[in-house]
């Protein structure tokens, strides 16, 4: 089962990488106000049920992929 987990900084958190990206884009002449950068993990989870896959991925995010002090995450199933 392919699951997509997206880990992004919590709203209101300072995102240095996003700021630098925005600045570079503006230097290149693009009309960009702000950029937020996050990570996507596309995971191949070896379970049969969608629910189980979601539950496990949730746990992976809590345990490893995100740091709750600064990160939010969203999870979705890509296919079955």
């Amino acid at each position: 089962m392919k699951i997509r987990a997206e880990v992004r900084l919590k709203p209101g958190h300072f995102d240095p990488e996003g700021d630098v990206t925005a600045k570079s884009l503006r230097e290149l002449g693009f009309p960009v106000d702000a950029v937020k950068v996050g990570k996507v993990y596309v995971l191949d989870v070896k379970v049969n049920s969608k629910e189980e896959a979601l539950r496990l991925t949730e746990e992976m995010c809590r345990k490893l992929l995100a740091n709750p002090v600064k990160d939010d995450y969203t999870i979705e199933v890509l296919n079955t």
Binding site: P16, E17, L64, N67, V69, K70
Partner: protein
């Protein structure tokens, strides 16, 4: 004064890279020191050591988040031993990546091994790797790692990291302050608060925090590298000849002093 009876273990895994200079610093102080790879850890008993060091480096390539992978792995795998080690008040030091490991494992600033981290060491506010010398003020000189320092003393020690911006919530920060868990703060060369001013606060850390300890004081993590400011000749400049020693040495001197007073 026989530090030779003290034993330290410097842990490493793929991507660790400051283990050797850390060992050299400890051995220079007379501590028997072993560097042990995680693959061989099962052949050792951690309780044979007085000090565990998580050294600097890029464990697991710093993928996911700096220190996250190693932190989770090591404290899952060796949970029992490590809990015992911590409970017995033995010493644990995390330097740079080692600090990130302790934070991600939930060991700092908590009282044991936490489920989730209470603080984060986030991407530097400059969004870049920063290699530079910084000035640190000793905020708490009663930990085993700072005994040999004066409170308010200013140390000059280098940093080298891309993810060192100390972050936490209000509540945890208050707790850290109350518990005197803030050990080092980034300051101006004259010892005054940096108040976030770059490059004195090199990464944008909240409250200029450079190093913290747990409540009990036996675990400390710091972003700066004391082992790179150990010998005088490592300093970035000197007059006609280098001084005998660098300020980072005091961290190791403190450890020895503590062990001497507390271990018979």
């Amino acid at each position: 004064m026989d530090a030779g009876k003290f034993r330290a273990i410097v842990l490493r895994t793929g991507g660790t890279n400051c283990d050797l200079e850390t060992k050299i610093a400890l051995e220079e102080m007379g501590v028997k020191t072993e560097i042990v790879h995680m693959n061989k850890i099962e052949s050792k008993s951690l309780l044979d050591y007085h000090l565990i060091v998580f050294p600097g480096g890029f464990s697991y390539g710093d993928y996911v988040r700096a220190g996250a992978v190693w932190g989770k792995r090591v404290f899952t795998r060796l949970r029992e031993q490590l809990e015992k080690f911590i409970d017995e008040g033995r010493l644990m030091l995390g330097i740079c990546n080692g600090f990130q490991v302790l934070v991600e494992a939930g060991v700092l600033p908590g009282d044991g091994i936490g489920e989730t981290p209470l603080v984060a060491l986030a991407t530097n506010s400059s969004a870049k790797y920063e290699c530079r010398w910084v000035w640190l003020r000793v905020e708490n000189n009663r930990t085993p790692f700072t005994l040999a320092m004066e409170k308010g003393e200013v140390l000059k020690i280098p940093i080298g990291h891309a993810e060192g911006r100390f972050l936490t919530d209000e509540k945890t920060l208050e707790k850290l302050k109350e518990g005197s868990q803030i050990v080092f703060k980034y300051v101006l060369p004259n010892g005054e608060d940096a108040n976030g001013l770059y490059p004195y606060n090199p990464n944008g850390s909240l409250y200029d925090i450079a190093g913290i300890c747990n409540r009990n004081g036996n675990i400390m993590g710091m972003m700066p590298h004391p082992e790179r400011a150990f010998f005088g000749w490592q300093l970035p400049e000197w007059g006609e000849a280098p001084p005998e020693r660098g300020d980072g040495r005091k961290v190791f001197e403190s450890v020895i002093e503590y062990l001497e007073n507390n271990i018979s």
